[in-house]
């Protein structure tokens, strides 16, 4: 379990965006995205302003575009849906590049694509400039219920441990000639997942006992101290 505890998306840096308090970044992200989502579909000038604003923040954060761009593929399935929209929607027809498409569908598809892309880039900017621990502290300052913050803290802390455990199980399965992706191997895969659940659950019990023996009373002291 020698894996680093840094997050996969975090990009180390010292820009003003990196240094900004996490709770402000969270509020800014939520506020900004609400405005983007509330922008009417055909206000293209507003989209341009929002996109420029976001690109300005990205530039300020000095996270390279080559780092962000490959991580934006996460939105591809919805981009496909957005591209299909002009063909699926009803309403008056119009012609684009020799194809007859629905006009409201075209606007909606474009709006979907723009809003989705801005959303993914804005979330990536938060994730790449903020350490997971900072996000937790930000949520705590925003009065997120303490229990949620604690659960999230445990999840972040044990993410690498549990995924590495799963990775070792997969390596063990593959080295015995089992392809976990094939539906024929689902029974084997399911047993591995059952074992992973039991291991995770028992790890939770051990962690809880270890915490009790160190005086846990329902609150985590470390997050306040840091």
């Amino acid at each position: 379990m020698g894996a680093g505890h840094g997050h996969r998306l975090h990009f180390h840096g010292h820009s003003p965006v990196h240094r900004a308090p996490a709770h402000l970044k969270l509020v800014a992200l939520l506020g900004f995205m609400l405005v983007v989502v509330a922008t009417p579909s055909d206000w293209y000038a507003a989209y341009a302003v929002e996109a420029l604003l976001l690109l300005g923040v990205v530039a300020l954060s000095r996270v390279p575009v080559t780092y962000l761009a490959p991580r934006m593929v996460i939105e591809v399935p919805f981009a496909v849906f957005a591209l299909l929209m002009p063909f699926l929607a009803h309403g008056p027809r119009t012609e684009v590049l020799g194809l007859t498409v629905s006009e409201p569908g075209l606007h909606a598809g474009l709006a979907l694509l723009v809003k989705g892309t801005i959303g993914v880039l804005a979330s990536l900017t938060l994730a790449s400039t903020t350490e997971p621990q900072e996000v937790l502290r930000g949520l705590q300052r925003l009065r997120m219920p303490d229990l949620i913050v604690q659960i999230m803290g445990f999840m972040i802390r044990y993410l690498d441990v549990v995924t590495a455990e799963l990775g070792r199980m997969m390596v063990a399965m593959r080295s015995r000639g089992c392809d976990p992706r094939s539906p024929r191997q689902w029974p084997t895969l399911a047993r591995a997942m059952g074992a992973l659940f039991i291991r995770s659950y028992e790890r939770g019990e051990r962690v809880h006992l270890a915490m009790l023996s160190r005086g846990y009373d329902g609150r985590l002291p470390a997050q306040d101290a840091a």
């Binding site: 699926l88 993914v120 229990l147 659960i151 445990f154 999840m155 985590l220």
Partner: protein, 228 residues
């Protein structure tokens, strides 16, 4: 796959956000009954397990792949209240740290996957458990049926939300039909994997499967004497 930003309009997103806050608030109280002061570490580790289980992708065909949603699975394993917390935290971590699912759509995603997915899965599971004979082995088909229903149920709610607050003038009936047919197929895969995982846990540690508790209570100590 999570709903991204901009898929539903702002009022719908805010409304589902309010539903999500209420649902998670109730789950915070309920989970204390299921896990008492062990809630934070146990739910944290189970959430991590759900996240890890979702990392395994299955090829669905046409170059796309699907993964386990895990709502019904988590409900059967740790109980519905804790499952709501676990799935919600998984979605929160994915939205904030992995840019998967928009932040304004977080309420929608929590409502669909954590509230509808878990509660429909659990409700159908409890119903099936009541109809089936009271044996630990019967927890497996009940869990599979719960998983089978929970996925199209979440898809149906999404289609309804899309009819109310979708930004595109697509015929709601078409969206509903496409979403439900597609998700019935996904639901079958979900049901098989959920059933198999529950079966493997029931076989080794039935005491960890919350949905098996009534069957376990009924089980009597059996003393067998060697045959002469």
């Amino acid at each position: 796959m999570h709903v991204p930003d901009g898929f539903l309009d702002a009022p719908t997103s805010i409304a589902t956000g309010a539903v999500a806050v209420a649902g998670v608030g109730l789950a915070l109280r309920g989970a204390r009954r299921e896990l008492d002061d062990r809630t934070a570490p146990m739910a944290g580790l189970v959430a991590t397990f759900v996240f890890a289980a979702q990392m395994i992708n299955f090829p669905v065909g046409a170059g796309t792949s699907g993964h386990l949603l895990g709502g019904a699975l988590a409900a059967v394993l740790v109980g519905p209240w804790s499952a709501v917390l676990c799935i919600s935290v998984v979605l929160l971590v994915q939205a904030l740290l992995m840019a998967d699912g928009g932040i304004t759509a977080l309420g929608t995603n929590v409502t669909l996957m954590a509230l509808v997915g878990v509660w429909v899965g659990w409700g159908v599971f409890v119903l099936a458990r009541r109809l089936l004979p009271r044996r630990t082995s019967m927890v497996v088909p009940a869990a599979a049926i719960g998983a089978l229903v929970s996925v199209p149920a979440a898809a149906t709610v999404f289609a309804l939300l899309f009819a109310v607050g979708g930004i595109a003038p697509v015929d709601p009936g078409k969206v509903l039909a496409a979403m439900v047919t597609w998700h019935v197929v996904i639901g079958i895969g979900e049901a098989i994997v959920t059933g198999l995982v529950v079966a493997s846990v029931v076989a080794t540690r039935p005491d960890l499967v919350r949905g098996a508790l009534p069957a376990l209570e009924k089980r009597e100590l059996e003393i067998r004497s060697p045959a002469r």
